[in-house]
Each structure stands twice: as C-alpha cells, then as structure tokens.
Amino acid sequence: MKIINKIAATLMVVTLFSGSAFSQAKITVKGSDTMVILAQKWAELYMKNNKTSIVQVTGGGSGVGITALINGTTDICNSSRPMKQTEIEKLKARYNTLGVEIACAKDGVTIFLNEANKVNELTLKQLSDIYTGKIRNWKELGGNDAEIRLYGRENSSGTYVFFHDVVVKADYSSNVQSLPGTAAVVNAVKKDINGIGYGGAAYAIGVKHAYVKKDANSNAYVPTAESIAKNDYPITRYLYMYLRNRPTGETKKYIDWILGSEGQSIVTEVGYFPIK
C-alpha cells in the first residue's frame, strides 16, 4: 500500500504541472445542415489562403454536431440553435467547462411557399396552427381550396428545434414530412403547389418567401439585410459555433478570420446576414 501511495502522489504532482496544449493541425467542423454551405465556403477560402491548414466540414444537423462536441469527435460544432441546458450539463460533466459560444452569422428562418400559391402573408399564430395541424386547408388563409402539405426538418436539426421553440410551441403535426436538409425542403415546395416549408434564408431559390408578421396588427416582413439587422423579421436567429474550450492556435486564427471582414463578407455572399 505504501508503494501505491507513492505512485498516487507522483501521479498527482505530474498532473498538476502538466498542461493540455495539444495542438491540432487539422480543424474538424461538424453540425448544422443550414450552415453547411456557409461553413464549406469559409473552409474553402481559408484553406486557399492558408496552405498549411486543413478544415474538414461535415453536416448532420446541429444535434449531431453538439453530440460530437461532447464526445470529442469534432473541434467546432456548428449549430443553428443555442445549446440546451442539458447539453451544457454534459459538457460540464465531461470537460469541466461550460463550452464557448460564438455567434458567427444571423439568419431569418424563411417560410417557403410555392410560387403559384395565392397566400403571401402569415402570422406567427397561423404558422403555429399550420404546423400543429389546426389549419389544414389553404382556403382558411385566403388561398385555394386545397389541403396544406407540410414539409419540415428531422429532429436532429437545429432549425427543427428553433422553429418548434419560437414558432410552433407545441407538438408538430404528424403530417409533417421530415426531409434531410433545407435544400430538400425547398425542392419539395418548389414541386408542390400546396406545400409549405421552413429553413435557412440561403436556400430559398425557386420558391416564394412568405411575408411573416408577429400578429395580425404588425407589419409583415421577409428576411432581408435590413429586416434582420433591425430584428423586424419575427423569426430571426443567430447561427453559432461551439467549442469545448476557448480557442487557441490554428482554431483561434480560423475563428478570428470568420468573424473578421473577409469571413463576414462570405456570410452575405452565401445568403445569410453578418453579425454586425
């Protein structure tokens, strides 16, 4: 037992004087599908200008990215929703930190309608009623006498969680067709005259943006640089990067670049909105 005591004491001393500076040549980024096109563009341009750096980007959804961050299989997690308290508790338990949250872009969750749809404007309440299944026919909203077909995201998606928490605020209708990625949602609505979908602003090509208003008496907005900057668009959100610890070395350099003018100009180029 005395030998064991000595071993234990030595172990403790070694530990207390050791650091954790394990530098990483490669930066792995995982998470939000909404942010994939943005993150890939960032990585592409950053690697072009920094030949020694490798930035590897994959999607999967915000939930998948956060799990990967907790499990230690990614350096940066992209998330289109804030981390939940339960997820922070897991980070605390495993890494003894609260994680680091970095807002890197803004987005307006866009309501996609088919271009032939007569409906142009929706309130948050109507959106909630549509996605909970209380409103089932477009004629209830001034449109054609046709059943509303709902398209949405999978539950690992940050957009799914954000839209649920901010707009739907109850159980999604069982009629929502879950699709893997905003591009798939846009594609479905493009082909379906009676379809409705939601997702990141950068994907809205070939579909109509619905004007959204907080309530019947408010002004209606579509996500534009101005309506997002002024927080007028009612479904405005931040897009985040999460890390386990405060960034150092190459990761810090990459994040500083993203938050700088060059990185933020890509945000606009892709179709999202800069944080400042």
């Binding site: 037992m1 064991i4 005591n5 234990a8 004491a9 172990l11 403790m12 530990t15 207390l16 050791s18 650091g19 954790s20 500076a21 394990f22 499990n71 230690g72 299989t73 308290q85 605390k92 338990a93 495993r94 890494y95 003894n96 930190t97 609260l98 680091v100 949250e101 539950n155 109850a170 159980d171 069982s174 386990r244 610890n245 405060r246």
Partner: protein, 414 residues
C-alpha cells in the same frame, strides 16, 4: 387500279390508327398499374414511417462497470480474499417520450446478485409553465452528488456523508422542478416517503419528508468561468413505533412517547466552479449539517431492559466533500477528492463509540478511451477518528484502521 391503291392506302392508315390507339390504351393500362403500385408503396412507406416514429420515441441507453478491487488488511477478515473482480453496476435505461414534455423512465440494475429497480418515474411538463416539470415515482433525491450519474462521476463511489444520509440515492415520491430558461435558477421540491432503502415499497409512517434545493448559476464567458451556488434543506422524521427510549447525540438517554416522530432535519450548501483553464478544471463541494435519527426496530413486546439496550438514536452530524478535477487533454482526467463525515458531532474519541468520524482522500485518474469506454484508476485512503471501539474490532491491532482500497474500473456505456 387507282381504286385498289386508294383502298389499300386507307386500310393501312386505318390499321396504323387502330394500332396507335391500342398502344396508347396499353400504355394507359401500364401507367395505371404502376400508379396503383406506387400508391400502395406510398401507403406502406407511410405505415413504416409511423412505426418508425413510434420507435424513435423509445430511447435505450445503459452502462456496465466491471472492476477489480484490492483491499487494505482491516477491511478483510482472516483468510478472506484481499482482492476481487466484480460487476459494480449493469444498468439499462429505457426512456419513452410519447409526446413533447412527457417522459417515462425505467432503469433496472442487473449487477450480479443485485437485480434491482433503480428508477421508475414519469416526468410531465406542466401545461402553460414550460420551465416546470412534475416528477412522480422512484428517482434520485435532489442533491448534487446524488443526481450526478454514477456513469459520469470521477471517483468510484460517492462521499461517505452522502451514502449515509441518502442510502440508495433514490426515494419514492413526487417532485416539482423548475429549470429557468430565462433566469439561471434551478429549484426542486420533493415530497417522499423518507425511508426508502431499496426494498420497502410503501411508507412506514404517515408523515412525508420534504426536501428542497435551489441552485443559482453564474456564467462569466469572457473569463471562461461558471459558478453554480446552491442550498438544500431536508425536513422529515422517523416514527418511534415500538420503543420509548432514545439515545441523544451527547450520549444521554432520554425518552419519547411511542408514536412520536424523531427529528430528521438538515441543511446544506453547495458550490461548483468550472474554469476553462488549460483544458478544463472543476472545483466542487458541498457541506451538510443537521440531525439524523435511527428508529429502534425492537419488538414492542420486548422487555424494558432490552428496549433500553437498543434505543432509538438521534444524532447531530456534519460532513462535506471537495472535488478537484483537472482535464488533461481531451482523453484524461485527474481527480483529487477529500471528504469528511462525522455521524455524531457531540462526541469524539473513545466516547464516540462506533460513530467515529472519517476523513477520506481519494486520488483518481480517468482515461476516456472513446465515446463508450472509460478506464478509471482509483485509490481511496480513509482515516478514521481514533477510538477504542475501533481497536475492539476483531483482528484490528490499531485504533487507526488500515482500510485503503485500490480500484480499477472499465466502464462501457452506450
């Protein structure tokens, strides 16, 4: 000739027209057949999706902890083994979430020779109060170290203090919990039977024990610092059912009326500090002090002398624990833990009898091999309060027990 040619030409045209109509009809039939098949497939996909959605509501997780322990000589009787392999925990947790804000949890433990039900409860989000949940069933008491899962804990066992006042960690009862989404507060209020040890399914007295916990979280992101501060209170009692004699904390004999409640009340303060310093560092501690009681189990028909010899006990106690946890890179963790528990603060030394206090230093190293596997090396060094009663234990030659324990655990989690 002209007539014949015209007739022939018209016949060919007619045949072509007939043949085209036949092809179109046949194509229509094929399309209709395929349409039917596609509709049938659509229906099947919808049924499968509905089934899959039901399955998605069920989550299964669990962990197995297999370990080897080496005991100090005073923990082992003569000719008994000084070391052993054993399964400390083997649990499967079933969680069913039929709707948003409704959850059912069932968690049995299958460790060898210890098949038991650990958790069985329902959690419901209160309508219109999204930050409030109501729990009912068998679940952990609201205390930091109790609620901190065994699969996450950085040392092999909980503190001596917590094991003494919250045996088995769980209780049967109902809990109201508030986790603020806007304000960083956690509040828990639990009503419970108050005597759960893992076997008794129902309460043994009419009064319910009440426990409350309040935690406030402070976040300082720029400094990479998070501090959780909290307090707990436990208000309950044990009924003296068969014996009127009571041995107080100071060793003085007293008496109560049979049917009276013996005091079981304590207060605690807790702090957890998380700092983003070279890979993460945590300092966690809790202090609890109060009065605990142990009702006599002697038969009501026993003689007065027998009852006096086995009285109800009411003791003032106190204890605390402090963890220092340092992450070393992503995969390793060093842990030093110090805990103290004095089951009777009014008496010390020889007068304390068997209620001696313990100070325990534990050093541990965790290696997270991957998402599922963790290897723990744990060395626990308890130091008991010197007392003649310790020396009276068979085979113990000193008032200071040699009861250190070395443990190596492999945990597989899914």
């Amino acid at each position: 000739m002209k007539k014949t040619f015209t007739m022939l030409f018209l016949s060919v045209i007619g045949l072509c027209g007939f043949s085209q109509t036949a092809v179109i009809d046949s194509l229509k039939e094929v399309i209709s057949n395929h349409e039917g098949k596609l509709n049938a497939l659509d229906d099947r996909v919808l049924v499968n999706e509905a089934d899959l959605a039901k399955l998605n509501k069920i989550k299964i997780s669990g962990y197995v902890q297999a370990q080897w322990e080496y005991y100090g000589k005073d923990l082992v009787k003569t000719n008994e083994p000084t070391n052993t392999f054993y399964i400390r925990r083997a649990r499967i947790k079933f969680t069913y979430e039929p709707a948003d804000g409704v959850k059912f949890v069932l968690q049995p433990d299958f460790s060898t020779g210890n098949l038991s039900l650990k958790d069985a409860y329902a959690v419901v989000n209160l309508p219109f109060l999204k930050d409030w949940t109501l729990w009912a069933g068998q679940f952990n008491r609201p205390d930091y170290e109790v609620e901190y899962s065994s699969s996450q804990r950085e040392v092999l066992e909980r503190s001596r203090l917590i094991r003494a006042i919250y045996p088995g960690e769980r209780e049967i009862g109902a809990k109201l919990e508030y986790i603020g989404s806007k304000i960083p507060i956690k509040f828990q209020l639990m009503a419970m039977n108050g005597n759960f040890t893992g076997t008794n399914a129902k309460d043994v007295d009419s009064k319910k024990d009440i426990m409350a916990r309040l935690v406030y979280s402070i976040k300082m992101p720029s400094a990479g610092l998070g501090i959780d501060l909290g307090g707990t209170g436990y208000f309950g009692g044990n009924r003296a059912k068969t014996n009127q004699y009571v041995l107080e904390s100071n060793g003085v004999a007293d008496s109560v009326a049979v049917g009276d409640y013996l005091k079981k009340q304590w207060f605690g303060a807790e702090i957890q500090v998380f700092a983003d310093v070279l890979g993460g560092l945590a300092l966690k501690g809790e202090y609890i002090t109060g009065t605990n009681s142990t009702p006599s189990t002697i038969a009501s028909t026993a003689t007065m002398a027998a009852k006096k010899a086995d009285p109800n006990k009411v003791n003032n106690f106190s204890g605390y624990y402090v963890y220092l946890i340092k992450n070393i890179g992503q995969k390793n963790q060093f842990v030093a833990k110090y805990d103290f528990y004095d089951p009777n603060t009014k008496l010390s030394g020889d007068a304390a009898g068997s209620s001696v206090n313990y100070k325990t230093l534990t050093l541990a190293w965790q290696c997270y091999v991957n998402d599922n596997i963790r290897i723990s090396l744990n060395y626990e060094m308890p130091q008991n309060e010197k007392s003649a009663s310790v020396k009276n234990i068979a085979g113990v030659a000193s008032t200071q027990l040699s009861d250190n324990t070395l443990g190596i655990r492999i945990q597989a989690k899914f």
